[in-house]
């Protein structure tokens, strides 16, 4: 961002809720079904049908509100948002208008400049529209499977100042939704959608300039890129003495630019009014208590605990806690260590972050599906930590642990891989090697010190690779010094 300017950004996030059935009818919400199979007269908008509210839409909205420090409205209602579009069969979307179920909250984000709170203006309940497919030349095709899927819209205060903060905020919202188990959080598949309101002003100004709305931010990378682009575009306009228009911009990932989608001159007039087909929603203390009890430890909180409890660096802790399953797996593995030291805990993290996550991305599976249990991983860390095998050997036996339930100890025993660290055994071995290689020993004494490595190698070879290299080294040194001394 050009210096002397600052951006004022607010995000509107739509989250598809992971209910079994739709918001106002009992059709399933599964993603990726054949077109127009999860439909009924209610979500097709047939005349004479009546919506009935899914209790989990309310429960999930309240849970999200509580997790983001919102006030929960005791009594709220639904409204109709009227607009005409082919994928909205009723001609209106059931939403909330003046009395959203959650309001006045905040979430904490971590920025390069430290921690920062971003305000949440409101969270309201609504239903999704169907899907239009425009790929055809002449006509548009409509699939109404998505029509009526429950959504919450999370509206932030214009507290965000940079594209990166917007990214961090969205990441935090996504993580919270996923941790609460109420949304898949998949931007690419559309279970999470994000629009950004962006304006810029001279640093120090307190008034808000005209904003534009940026849509189609369908990946985390695009959120940051699109907002960054829009900020620069608006600053360039101001520098040239032009005014920013109140427009809806569409992010085009292909060209890396925002393009005008529609000017707000022709803005929608949604003519909201109270939805007469639905009764009000009252949230009492029993519901609040129940939903509060369903909130697990959340992202940043978990990350900080991991750093404190396991002594992990922020980088490790952030990755491990971004995925609930991964975090749980990590803790189980540390729990199963025979000796839980900070080093061992870091080793567990290293294995997960490298070998296991590689396996996860190659096979496109989650941590539980990699086929190695947390206790098995702990056994592997144990045997490296106690010197039974080297890290190199550990890496070699890891593939054999996938898909089995054997521990590292069992594999080592079976194949006689155990590293020999016992001093008397190694002393014997070294003596043998020095005897056989008397010539080399002689040359070494005369100054060819590089033969030391050769002798160590011979000892390791004689042990079949099982001798602990560092013990061999020190005993070899001792033995040779003794000989030199004689």
């Amino acid at each position: 961002m050009k210096s002397g300017y600052e951006a004022v950004i607010g995000l509107e996030v739509h989250a598809q809720l992971k209910t079994e059935s739709k918001a106002f009818c009992s059709c399933p919400t599964v993603y990726g079904a054949q077109p127009n199979v999860n439909v009924c007269p209610i979500c097709l908008g047939h005349p004479g049908t009546l919506p009935v509210l899914n209790e989990n839409l309310v429960a999930f909205a309240v849970r999200m509100g509580l997790a983001t420090n919102c006030s929960i409205r005791e009594h709220s209602t639904f409204s109709r948002k009227n607009y005409f579009y082919p994928d909205l069969p009723k001609g209106y979307q059931i939403s909330q208008y003046s009395d959203p179920i959650c309001y006045n909250g905040w979430v904490e984000i971590e920025t390069d400049a430290g921690e920062k709170n971003i305000g949440i203006t409101r969270i309201h309940m609504e239903e999704d529209a169907g899907k239009s497919i425009h790929d055809l030349d002449i006509d548009t095709l409509v699939d109404l499977n998505r029509s009526g899927i429950p959504l919450i819209e999370i509206v932030s205060e214009p507290d965000i100042r940079t594209a990166h903060e917007a990214y961090q905020y969205l990441l935090g919202i996504r993580q919270t939704l996923v941790f609460l188990g109420i949304c898949d959080g998949n931007l690419e598949e559309g279970s999470l959608r994000c629009d950004a309101n962006v304006s810029v002003r001279k640093k120090g100004d307190t008034h808000l300039n005209t904003k534009s709305e940026v849509k189609n931010l369908n990946s985390f990378r695009n959120v940051e890129k699109a907002i960054g682009y829009e900020i620069d575009r608006q600053i360039a306009l101001m520098e040239d003495g032009n005014e920013v228009q109140h427009q809806t911009m569409m992010w085009d990932a292909g060209s890396g630019k925002t393009k005008v989608m529609r000017s707000k001159e022709e803005a929608h007039d949604y003519r909201y009014f109270a939805e007469p087909d639905l009764l009000g929603v009252t949230v009492d203390s029993v519901m609040i208590e129940k939903q509060t009890g369903l909130i697990p430890e959340l992202g940043l909180q978990k990350k900080r605990r991991f750093m404190l409890e396991y002594g992990l660096p922020a980088y490790d802790a952030a990755i491990l806690t971004d995925d609930v399953q991964l975090a749980l797996y990590y803790e189980e593995a540390c729990q199963a260590l025979s000796e839980r030291s900070e080093e061992a805990c870091k080793m567990v993290s290293n294995w997960i972050l490298t070998e296991l996550m590689r396996e996860m991305s190659e096979k496109k599976v989650n941590i539980r599906e990699t086929g190695i249990g947390a206790a098995q991983l702990a056994s592997l860390v144990d045997v490296v930590a106690n010197g039974s095998i080297s890290h190199k050997v550990a890496k070699e036996i890891l593939p054999d642990m996938f898909g089995s339930d054997v521990t590292a100890q069992q594999i080592i025993k079976e194949r006689g891989l155990e590293q020999v660290s016992d001093e008397s055994t190694i002393k014997e071995l070294v003596a043998q090697v020095l005897l056989v290689n008397a010539e080399s020993v002689e040359k070494l004494k005369q100054g060819k010190t590089n033969l030391f490595g050769f002798l160590v190698g011979q000892a390791l070879k004689a042990s079949g690779g099982s001798a602990n290299p560092s013990v061999v080294c020190s005993i070899m040194k001792e033995a040779l010094e003794m000989e030199v001394g004689e």
Binding site: N36, V37, V39, L53, H134, D139, T140, V142, T282
Partner: protein, 92 residues
Amino acid sequence: MNPDELQKLAALSRLKFTDEQLESFAEQFNNVVEFVGKVSAEDLGDVEPMLSVNESVNVFREDVVGECLTTEEALRNAPKKNEAFFKVPKVL
């Protein structure tokens, strides 16, 4: 409400009217608005708005999947279809 405002409302509803229709509808609209306006004239400062005659709340449906229509049934009343889709004039 004047014919221009009515024209805007008609556009939002994707309806087309002739000028004569707009004139006559505007008049009818004004009658309704004027009639309802009588309520606004009353001092209702302390009265909560009544959104429904039914004052019960939290009428919920359990989050359980029920039966859907078949695609064939769903598309039965569609003026145009393309295999499993509703077909509408191009919008983009």
